[in-house]
């Protein structure tokens, strides 16, 4: 009997076919860049403005008439260098819009749009989305757009990230707790420590956020550090130091003071502490001391409590001059407390 012939489409061809279909599905519409007239571009009223100056101001020629206020004049100046480069190179990244009736609403690229006008262009390259993106997508696109800009304030960044987080949570039915620093770092593509700082600031209370809004706290790391301090006195100290312009090192030192301050509570937000070394502790190390009086104080405090007053008799025989005797007695005390306290 003749051997049965086996026919297979090769691995390489199969892979090629599968990948091509996959790419077609995933990137459908991704290269849709068209040239649209500047006059048809309008802002999305639901998105925060990044500029006070508007396209209408420019179209009406206010910038040439000298009827701009100080803030708008500043913005105009910063747009002029962008306009120069657009004149020479064109815009490198198309702006992003979505269709809204006969016009287009801006998703990202406000500065590029205005600068294109200043450069004398009548139209601009735009990537046209089929519909308004979800809140999360919108915030993510704006984040990516702005990441190159150094002049963005901490407050602007925090607002953007807050929108991004809220959008993501509502879009994926997660609980607020599920929005972790790890998730944030994967969404915006930054390092985990960086995401942890943003996360801490996002969770900070109103006081801190107002200070950031007023531009009194401008640095992310400092803001994150302060946000994690629970003790009010210590926090006030840190805030004042920060506003006065204290470097990060100094603020960290202030934070570490909480370790020796008995009334300070331990923060529950984990953060990467550079001082931690060695294996994680699995039990409490009671340490050692030469100060017998301190130990005697502990004993007396315990005996003073109603619950353990009867114990006093059990420890009558302790020789307070003998370290060994005191050590043994202390161990006894701890054992008793272990049994009776949970």
């Amino acid at each position: 009997m003749a051997k049965r012939k086996i026919f297979r489409i090769s691995q390489a061809l199969t892979q090629g076919l599968e990948e091509t279909v996959n790419a077609a599905h995933n990137y459908s519409g991704s290269l849709r860049v068209e040239v649209i007239p500047l006059t048809k571009i309008e802002l999305d009223p639901e998105n925060p403005r990044s500029l006070t100056l508007t396209l209408t101001d420019l179209i009406n020629g206010y910038h040439q008439q000298g009827s701009l206020d100080h803030k708008r004049k500043q913005e105009l100046e910063s747009l002029k260098s962008l306009a120069e480069s657009i004149k020479n190179e064109g815009i490198l990244n198309p702006i992003i819009v979505y269709r809204y009736g006969d016009n287009y609403r801006l998703v990202a690229g406000e500065r590029r749009t205005l600068a294109s006008f200043l450069a004398g262009k009548t139209d601009v390259q735009a990537k046209i989305l089929d519909s308004k993106p979800s809140e999360y997508k919108l915030a993510l696109l704006q984040w990516i757009e702005n990441i190159e800009r150094e002049d963005l304030t901490l407050w602007e960044k925090i607002c953007n990230l807050d929108k991004l987080a809220q959008g993501y949570i509502s879009g994926s039915n997660l609980s607020e707790d599920a929005f972790t620093p790890t998730l944030l770092s994967s969404l915006i593509g930054c390092s985990l420590p960086h995401a942890m700082n943003y996360h801490a600031v996002l969770l900070a209370d109103e006081e801190i956020k107002n200070l950031i809004k007023e531009n009194k706290i401008k640095n992310l790391e400092k803001a994150a550090l302060i946000a994690k301090i629970d003790a009010t006195k210590l926090r006030k100290k840190a805030i004042n130091a920060c506003i006065q312009g204290a470097p990060l090192k100094e603020l960290k030192a202030i934070c570490n003071q909480k370790k020796t301050n008995a009334s300070a509570s331990i923060t529950t937000t984990p953060h990467i502490n550079k001082e931690t070394r060695g294996r994680a502790a699995t039990r409490i190390n009671l340490g050692a001391t030469k100060n017998t009086a301190a130990i005697k104080f502990i004993f007396n405090t315990v005996f003073d409590s109603e619950k353990y007053s009867k114990l006093k008799d059990n420890f009558q025989g302790v020789n307070w001059d003998d370290y060994k005797s005191v050590s043994g007695a202390f161990k006894e005390l701890v054992k008793i407390l272990e049994k009776n306290e949970e």
Binding site: K5, T20, G29
Partner: protein, 287 residues
Amino acid sequence: MKIIVTATHKGGEGKTTNCIILAEYFAMVMKKKVLAIDLDPQANFSGRYLSMSYDPTYQGGKFPPLHPDYDAATDLDWDGRSTIADIFYGVPLIPYPTLIPELDLLPAYSSKLQDAEAVTKSEVTEKVHVQLKKFFDFPEVRQEYDIIIIDTPPSKGPLTISAVKAATHMVIPSQMEQFSIEGIYGMLQLWKQEAYSRGATNSLELIGILPNQVRDINLHKSFLESLKNMKGVSDYVMPFVIKKRAVYAELLVEGANPKMLFELPANNIARQEYEIVCKHIAERVYG
């Protein structure tokens, strides 16, 4: 207006036969107003409905006959012939009627199409690429026709690309053999590239790969099986195959009687087989 392109780089897969049967199905069975477009310099699609003349100046090439509406006395600035190739020359197009009332044809003109195919400079290819789409955007065209059927040459050149850029739907006929499957790969690349440029509202829908000329042999069965097991690709393999039958070739013979598949009795096995495929395509096109 629906625009169906049948395309694959490989020759002999059944593009023209598929176009003929689809055009006749939509016109004769579904009574849609159909415009057939022949972009293949080989001009086989055109030759089915018109008496194409051999071009003395272009070896083996053909051009269309005089248009029935041509009046030499009054049409002084028209040579009496029209071809789809004229879209590359900015000349108005006048579709030819065919023996089927609902079916019109814009025939090939081999030398003119070949010139367009040979265009390689990038700015000029751009001009070729978008011309067909522009033509379909004319209100007169959209009002006149319900559905356009486009036959393409076996190539990856500007003609096929302009058809893909203009189309709303695509069919890829393919034999279940090595070189044919490789041809599918090339065609999917074109589809993918086009998908990148389209939005959600004007997508190019891949109706599917039509397993064609299938015989009852191990090779064909295995390859069809392999395709149906591929991730993603399997969604695009049509659930019906066309077997290799003499009748499909016989219908194409000049002077054949019957000429159309749909003149055969309804229970004819070939008619049934291809009619199922046409129905499937019609459902995908019209929803």
